[in-house]
């Protein structure tokens, strides 16, 4: 294979791969504007399913619950995950480190059915012995989400810390700063972008989770994925297409905005580096 052929092959595969990723989502969006109740049969352009969606109280309740869980989860997971990442990269060896790092990576690949089942059985056992949690819902789902989200945050923080030179921290220490001051004044500001990324990822992971929430939820607590799932199990639903369109657009705008901000910061930093080089 010469170079031209090779790059043509790579170009074709990439285009095919991206089309494979995006066409299903585009079709989802197109059919949300279909008048017909039968999703794939085109009955003319209409926004009637958006109206149906906004009038449904059930949908609003599920959205509110999911957003509440996602917000609380993201805050706790960011704090716990940052602590875990710091401990693993900056503290050297400590007792139980192997177990600790194992417990951090395992949730990333653990099948959701196992995590969900085991957490539900834990909550039931706890209730039997200490009477808490007396009812399953917001609290139990949030705890379950924090447990797997913090692992993702820890991995982000870990890779950011590992890729970062320690010279600033060492300089501060040499100038007489106590280790705790070094942490709050130097290390934390440096990993702040990682913490923000971790917060956003935890937020999305929580909004997206169906299996674990279904296991640990109780009567009356229905999250958005649980609601969507109960509706689409029985077939295609035009109102779900409308809901999907809104979710996809919100996520796309959010991700593009975050990418734009990051790119701008990167350019600014490069510019500053160039300026300082000219001096």
């Amino acid at each position: 294979m010469n170079n031209g052929k090779k790059s043509r092959f790579l170009f074709t595969v990439t285009c095919f791969g991206l089309a494979f990723l995006y066409i299903p989502m585009l079709m989802l969006i197109v059919y949300s504007f279909n008048y017909s109740k039968l999703v794939p049969v085109w009955g003319g352009f209409s926004t009637r399913w958006y109206g149906v969606l906004f009038e449904s109280e059930e949908v609003w309740r599920a959205v509110t619950l999911s957003l509440k869980i996602a917000t609380v989860n993201a805050c706790f997971a960011t704090i716990l995950g940052t602590l875990a990442g710091l401990a693993l990269v900056r503290f050297g060896q400590f007792k139980g480190r192997t177990l600790f790092s194992g417990m951090i990576t395992a949730p990333l690949v653990m099948p959701e059915v196992i995590t969900g089942l085991s957490l539900l059985l834990l909550f039931i056992t706890l209730k039997e012995f200490i009477g808490w949690p007396d009812k399953r819902g917001f609290t139990t789902i949030t705890i379950a989400h924090i447990t797997f989200s913090m692992a993702y945050v820890a991995v982000i923080i870990q890779s950011r810390l590992a890729g970062m030179a320690q010279d600033l921290e060492e300089a501060a220490q040499d100038l007489g700063a106590k280790p705790f001051r070094v942490l709050t004044d130097i290390t934390l500001p440096l990993i702040a972008p990682g913490m923000l990324a971790g917060w956003l990822l935890s937020f999305t992971l929580s909004l997206d989770d169906l299996i674990i929430a279904s296991f640990v939820s109780g009567p009356g607590a229905v999250t958005l994925p649980m609601l969507i799932y109960s509706r689409v199990r029985l077939g295609l639903r035009p109102d779900i297409n409308a809901l999907a369109t809104i979710i996809i657009l919100v996520v796309a705008i959010g991700v593009l905005l975050a990418a734009w901000i990051m790119l701008r910061q990167q350019k600014q930093r490069q510019l500053e580096l160039q300026m300082s080089g000219e001096d």
Binding site: P24, A87, I114, L121, I247
Partner: protein, 303 residues
């Protein structure tokens, strides 16, 4: 203790606090539950709440009587359905992983070798679906694959077929669903690995007269092996326990262990058997998980 005292002792012991809080959280909410699952998998089922008998009974004064029941595991082994389901799950997840690798490897390669601006755009395009709802992306395929769905309508319109072919509720649909949802998980670790590579080695091999195929097999593949392993495991492990995809796209025709577990627990309310299914699944996946842990640990250290 005064506020000052607290802050002073915090300043002295903050390192242990930093380790202790997440460690304690994971011990209670991640590790402890597995022991409970294991315990229940060794209990007898009963019609009560909770639906299993206690393992430890106090007989007379202080004589502890522990009853371990391995029946649940024997049941899994003897019942053809379970063994078949484990094999079918592993087969589906291995083939899906291979397909993801075949599509993802050239894509990651193409992204790494493109110019900086184009690289950012392509990466963005790969990451974006990862942030949108997994459930909705699976649902999107229901619309494409249904008997009255987009693909069938299109094929009929261009005259390739006369009546709809069955695409939804088949093994084919499950493969498509898994490859579709897990493809970014394959591309991203591969990209991260390839980006750190020393590409001059490839040029050196070429200059020394190696054929492109030889260079690829003896230089590129060995260098990208950590990425291949990490990406494959990130697809293989969760796909083996997948529930939503076989349920929505596979219908009743596709046997997968995640579905059996979910149904044993929720529909049959047989907690001991569901727990035994979970423990057996964990045993199947423990080696791949340790391998992932090993690769992941090396990646962070080598940086």
């Amino acid at each position: 203790m005064t506020l000052q005292g607290i802050s002073r002792s915090l300043q002295r012991n903050w390192k242990s606090v930093v380790v202790f809080i997440p460690f304690f959280w994971l011990l209670i909410f991640f590790l402890a539950p597995f022991f409970i699952v294991f315990k229940i998998s060794l209990s007898e089922a009963t019609i009560a709440s909770p639906p299993f008998l206690p393992m430890i009974n106090w007989v007379d004064e202080g004589v502890m009587h522990i009853k371990l029941v391995f029946d649940n595991f024997a049941y899994l082994w003897e019942d053809d359905l379970y063994v078949k389901t484990y094999i079918s799950s592993l087969k589906i997840s291995s083939i899906s992983t291979l397909i993801c690798l075949l599509i993802g490897y050239p894509m990651a390669y193409a992204i790494v070798r493109s110019s900086q601006t184009r690289k950012n755009i392509l990466l963005m395009l790969v990451i974006l679906p990862f942030w949108t709802s997994f459930l909705l992306r699976v649902y999107a395929w229901m619309g494409l694959l249904a008997d009255q769905g987009t693909i069938n309508n299109l094929l009929i319109a261009i005259g390739l077929i006369d009546e709809p072919i069955r695409l939804l509720y088949s093994h084919f649909a499950v493969y498509v669903g898994i490859v579709y949802t897990y493809l970014p998980f394959m591309i991203l670790p591969l990209y991260a690995n390839m980006e750190k590579l020393d590409w001059t080695l490839l040029e050196a091999a070429e200059d020394l007269g190696a054929r492109p195929a030889t260079t690829f097999l003896t230089v590129t593949v060995p260098m990208t092996l950590p990425g291949i392993i990490a990406g494959s495991l990130l697809v293989f492990i969760p796909a083996t326990g997948e529930y939503v995809i076989p349920d929505l796209l596979g219908g009743g025709n596709v046997l997968m262990i995640g579905r059996i577990l979910y149904n044993e627990f929720n529909a049959n309310v047989d907690w001991p058997v569901a727990s035994a299914v979970a423990i057996a699944l964990l045993l199947v996946l423990v080696l791949p998980m340790m391998l992932y842990q090993h690769v992941q640990g090396k990646e962070t250290e080598s940086k």
